[in-house]
């Protein structure tokens, strides 16, 4: 077998250009898969480990104010293993030298008798040893360069209080640290703060009471039963509905991310390996054809069919190896890079990124499956070919007039164009696959342009068109309409639009969803709801407007009624008609007129907060003034938040676009280069004959390039459609009640995708140009086809 091995390596060397092209495509696929899968493993594994080690609770509940002795009853609920009462709340905070509004979620630390759920991981410093000390979240500390020993000023229940930082910490509860109701994290303006229970209870007027509950469950417990028991227990204490991890904010975002990694793995791996399979199919098919006589000789000399088959299978295996090994390396490198980006967004004490044997096995498995799919027919041909038949040359190719000519446009074509079209038509399947392959490259490029423009569209619609306030103010409690007048009286405030917002559970049969019902003022201009065409929608006199995605989740249409259970006030449960749907990209919600909400709640003209529009230059003064008002729980600055998000996302979007562009280009080059090499191999003799007949190098080049560009141009339109389709798949895969990414691709995205692929085609043409120019005119004439 030694001689056969020599042949193997020499064949491989002969095919090196195409082997590299295939390897590039495979590296793209295996690289993406490895990157996504290794990070999936890292995120899921680190999360599980972190949750277990730091005792992340399983059920969460909030109440307005419940007495601590109630905990005994809670612990007695069937299925509850441990329960921990806490005080949490939102406060505003001053940091020296930073005048933007900052919201804090403040959480009490467990006392010595508590089971210690949601434990802190201390990155630096120590737990608070006195009442004035706090631990702050790592992301916020990094954003502001805060260290243990630094001081903060918090407005706790109306009193300015000086706090000292004792440590920097992380919690499994806040892996994804985001303000409730937001979609993008903003580490500069939202932070988490941990403080001892007693001083916090005092500050929030919760002495001997709690407003937040975390539970772990026994192995046999049924989560839904425990949640029901908790809900009925806490109702009279202003409970707003218990929930499991599935509705815990940080956990949900992590779940979404994991889901997206899976979508990405499936989509990209399928595309890349599909293209690789096609390329291998062409290369091995061609090789077996050109080596017919060699196969015959081998068989004639006594090599078995298996040995000959194995010989070509080894070639395929080597090609797979050239793709998988660098693909794994690339995937590992990208994976580590992505893990670093994740560490910015998802705060784990450590992200245990490893290249698991399972991922490596998966990479080889997928690549081998693709190779088997692509080369089975070629290998089978080598295996089956009877020696005597193989000695004879293959029958000459049969050509027909092309469709264009049969349709009567033949006169428009010159012989070069005729040759090109007839060649493409003669192998319709291969031409179609080439077009599909190039089209996939175009599609991925289109898709790679989609992310940044979609996010711009989301921001534009949500924060440019729907929400147009300068500041959003939330009160600690529902307040009388006088508060709005007070806000309007502040210097620099131009318009005040007060709103009423209430936590509700919306039910339709067995489907239910917890959200906020927002009551908007008449003729609201700072917050508008948009219809399906993104035009401002009129608020109905009666009934609710639902986000279209939410209407889908609840399976209701305009005209149906919903059961609305209020989780505050008189906790009424009412049947309310659905008046229509609205379109939103971020979150889902229910909307009604403010008076309608007040009426449904059975209350007077109460407010939950207000949107403000300011005169230019007034922001800083208004924020400083608002900070001193005790009844104001939070102040949100939309534009600053959006800007911060853009800054945070800029790097990862750029990385994604760059990687996707490189990969798409590798697909385009791989397919086009292969097409050009195969054309050259199959028709070198023909092209050389033309040269002998007096055709110049330029004219012969035009023939080959003409074929390549014809394929590419044919691929552009399908490619654009594929891009739209893949983006649609991605958008569908990513859609959730947290956010929906709009299917928005700018026209320039299509143009850039097309240009890059055309450039790749020209590049492939250059790569084969040398071979084309050096065609051996003499030798080729002596060769039998």
């Amino acid at each position: 077998m030694k001689a056969l091995h020599h042949k193997l390596w020499r064949d491989l060397w002969q095919l090196r250009g195409q082997v590299i092209a295939i390897a590039l495509v495979m590296i793209g696929g295996i690289g993406t898969m490895t990157m996504a899968q290794s990070n999936y493993a890292a995120l899921a594994g680190s999360r599980a480990l972190y949750y277990a080690e730091y005792r992340f609770a399983e059920v969460f509940a909030r109440a307005k104010r419940a007495p601590l002795p109630l905990m005994e009853t809670v612990r007695a609920i069937r299925g509850v293993r441990e329960a921990e009462a806490r005080v949490t709340g939102f406060v505003t905070l001053e940091i020296g030298g930073y005048d933007e509004p900052v919201t804090w979620q403040i959480v009490s630390l467990p006392g010595p008798d508590d089971p210690g759920l949601n434990r802190l991981f201390l990155r630096e410093g120590a737990l608070p040893s006195s009442d004035g000390e706090v631990v702050i979240g790592e992301a916020f500390a990094e954003a502001h360069g805060l260290r243990p020993g630094d001081a903060l000023v918090a407005i706790l229940n109306g009193r300015r209080q000086l706090l000292s930082i004792s440590g920097i910490g992380l919690s499994p509860e806040f892996v994804y640290q985001i303000r409730p109701g937001d979609v993008f994290p903003d580490f500069e303006r939202f932070g988490v703060l941990w403080m001892r229970h007693e001083p916090l209870a005092m500050a929030f007027d919760m002495d001997g009471a709690f407003n937040d509950l975390s539970l772990t469950l026994t192995r046999q417990a049924r989560e839904d039963d425990v949640i029901d028991a908790l809900d009925s227990l806490l109702t009279s204490y202003g409970g707003v509905g218990a929930h499991g991890r599935d509705l815990q904010l940080s956990h949900r975002f992590l779940d979404e991310e994991l889901g997206q990694l899976q979508v990405m793995t499936r989509l990209f791996t399928a595309i890349f390996l599909g293209v690789a399979a096609f390329l291998m199919n062409v290369v091995i098919g061609r090789l077996v054809t050109t080596q017919r006589e060699q196969i015959a000789v081998l068989k004639a000399f006594g090599y078995s069919r298996f040995e000959v088959g194995l010989h070509y299978a080894q070639l395929v295996l080597l090609m797979v190896g050239f793709g998988v090994l660098p693909g794994l390396a690339l995937g590992a490198w990208l994976g580590r890079g992505l893990a670093d980006i994740y560490m910015d967004f998802y705060r784990f004490p450590y992200l245990a990124w490893t290249l698991e044997p399972r991922v490596i096995g998966l990479a080889f498995g997928f690549a081998l499956a693709a190779a088997a799919l692509g080369t089975a027919s070629g290998l089978h041909r080598a295996f089956r070919l009877p020696p005597a038949e193989a000695m004879r040359p293959e029958a000459p190719p049969v050509f027909r007039r092309t469709l264009t000519e049969r349709l009567g446009f033949g006169a428009l074509l010159d012989p070069t164009a005729r040759m090109i079209l007839r060649n493409l038509e003669r192998r319709p399947l291969r031409s179609a696959m080439s077009v599909l392959g190039i089209g996939l490259g175009v599609g991925i490029l289109v898709m790679s342009r989609f992310q940044s423009s979609a996010i711009e569209e989301m921001i534009g619609v949500q924060f440019g068109f729907a929400q147009r306030d300068d500041l959003a103010v939330t009160f600690t409690e529902p307040t009388s309409s006088r508060a709005a007048h007070e806000l309007a009286a502040l210097p620099g405030v131009r318009v005040v639009e007060p709103f009423r917002s209430a936590a509700v559970i919306l039910r339709n049969g067995h489907r239910e969803y917890r959200t906020a019902l927002q009551g908007l003022p008449d003729g609201a201009d700072l917050k508008r709801v948009l219809d399906a065409d993104l035009q401002p929608a009129r608020m109905p006199d009666d009934g609710l407007l639902l986000t279209d995605y939410l209407a889908g989740m609840l399976a209701v249409r305009p005209g149906n009624t919903l059961e609305v259970e209020f989780l505050e006030g008189h906790r009424r449960t009412l049947e309310v008609p659905v008046a229509g749907t609205v379109r939103e990209y971020l979150g889902v919600g229910a909307y009604a007129g403010r008076e309608t909400v007040n009426r449904l709640l059975g209350e007077g003209a109460a407010l939950s907060g207000a949107w403000l529009s300011l005169t230019p230059g007034a922001r800083q003064g208004v924020v400083a003034e608002l900070r001193t008002r005790p009844r104001i729980a939070a102040v949100t600055d939309r534009s600053a938040m959006v800007q911060s998000f853009r800054d945070t996302m800029a790097e990862s979007i750029l990385t994604f676009t760059l990687i996707a562009t490189l990969m798409a280009a590798s697909i385009a080059v791989g397919v086009v280069y292969n097409a050009s090499r195969i054309t050259l191999a199959e028709r070198g003799r023909e092209l050389a004959s033309l040269r002998v007949l007096g055709y110049t190098r330029g004219e012969v080049r035009a023939l080959l390039l003409g074929e390549l560009f014809t394929l590419t141009f044919m691929a552009l339109m399908p490619g654009f459609l594929l891009g739209l389709g893949m983006t649609w798949l991605l958008v569908q895969g990513f859609a959730s009640d947290l956010y929906r990414i709009p299917l928005s691709i700018p026209p320039a995205g299509f143009a850039i995708a097309g240009l890059i692929v055309l450039a790749a085609t020209a590049g492939s043409g250059l790569l084969v140009r040398r071979r084309l120019d050096n065609l051996d005119l003499v030798a080729v004439l002596k060769l039998k086809e």
């Binding site: 000459p396 050509f399 040759m419 023909e686 007096g694 190098r697």
Partner: protein, 245 residues
């Protein structure tokens, strides 16, 4: 226009004049002396057969005359214009304007019909004949729109000849034009070549190792081991249909 075969050539201007042509090329480790100092003059209207065993250098000579290859030493000129030292572009132009090639394996473009294969050349030539006329000359006026795969070997070769002559070349170079054909079909091809030579007056050079074909030539040049071993003048050209092998 047809030239009398036995006239002395010393006063006429030759189409090709080769002096001391030598060609050495390397095949791996070995130096192959394909031509070892060939002097030769070929004249308009002549039908010349280059006869020799394989490896005698006849193909190399033909390739150099046709501008496909360059000699290692020596000179060759066509109508007084040197071919040696000409650039690739000049050689391409030379082939395009002056030379018609016929190959053993036809080298037709499979994706083009007979007519289109001929048109391939007429479209880049200066004063070509119509492709239909060229195909008529080789007796294929009724098979214009057939693809190569629909034609027999002899028919394919005649398309190749039509393609070679359609540009009205001064020189028709044929490398084993009957090598891949049976004798009956081969004779049809030779008839076509003879007729073209007679009617267009193109210098026709045919390479073969088939002695029988030499009988239809004006001159027979024997090559052996890279040298001219002898030149014979036939008193009368035999008609192709009289040949048998």
């Amino acid at each position: 226009m047809s030239a009398a075969p036995n006239v002395s050539r010393t006063d006429a201007v030759p189409v090709f004049r080769a002096i001391g042509l030598t060609k050495v090329y390397r095949m791996g480790e070995i130096e192959v002396h394909a031509l070892r100092g060939v002097d030769l003059e070929l004249f308009a209207g002549e039908f010349v057969v280059l006869l020799g065993a394989s490896g005698s250098g006849k193909s190399t000579l033909l390739n150099i005359l046709g501008g496909l290859d360059a000699p290692t030493a020596g000179r060759v000129e066509c109508r007084g214009h040197p071919l040696t030292g000409a650039s690739d572009d000049e050689l391409t132009r030379f082939r395009r304007e002056h030379v018609g090639f016929v190959f053993q394996y036809y080298n037709l473009i499979p994706s083009l019909t007979a007519r289109e294969n001929v048109a391939l050349v007429t479209e880049i030539a200066r004063e070509p004949m119509a492709p239909e006329r060229a195909l008529d000359l080789v007796g294929l006026g009724d098979r214009l729109d057939h693809f190569p795969a629909q034609l027999s070997g002899g028919e394919q070769q005649r398309v190749a000849i039509a393609r070679a002559i359609a540009k009205r070349p001064e020189v028709l170079l044929c490398d084993e034009p009957t090598g891949a054909l049976d004798s009956t079909t081969g004779i049809l091809v030779l008839q076509a070549l003879e007729r073209i030579n007679r009617e267009t007056g193109a210098l026709t050079v045919v390479i073969t190792h088939n002695e029988v074909i030499a009988r239809m030539a004006d001159r027979v040049i024997r090559l052996s081991d890279g040298r001219i071993a002898g030149i014979e003048h036939n008193a009368a050209r035999a008609a192709p249909e009289a040949l048998r092998w």
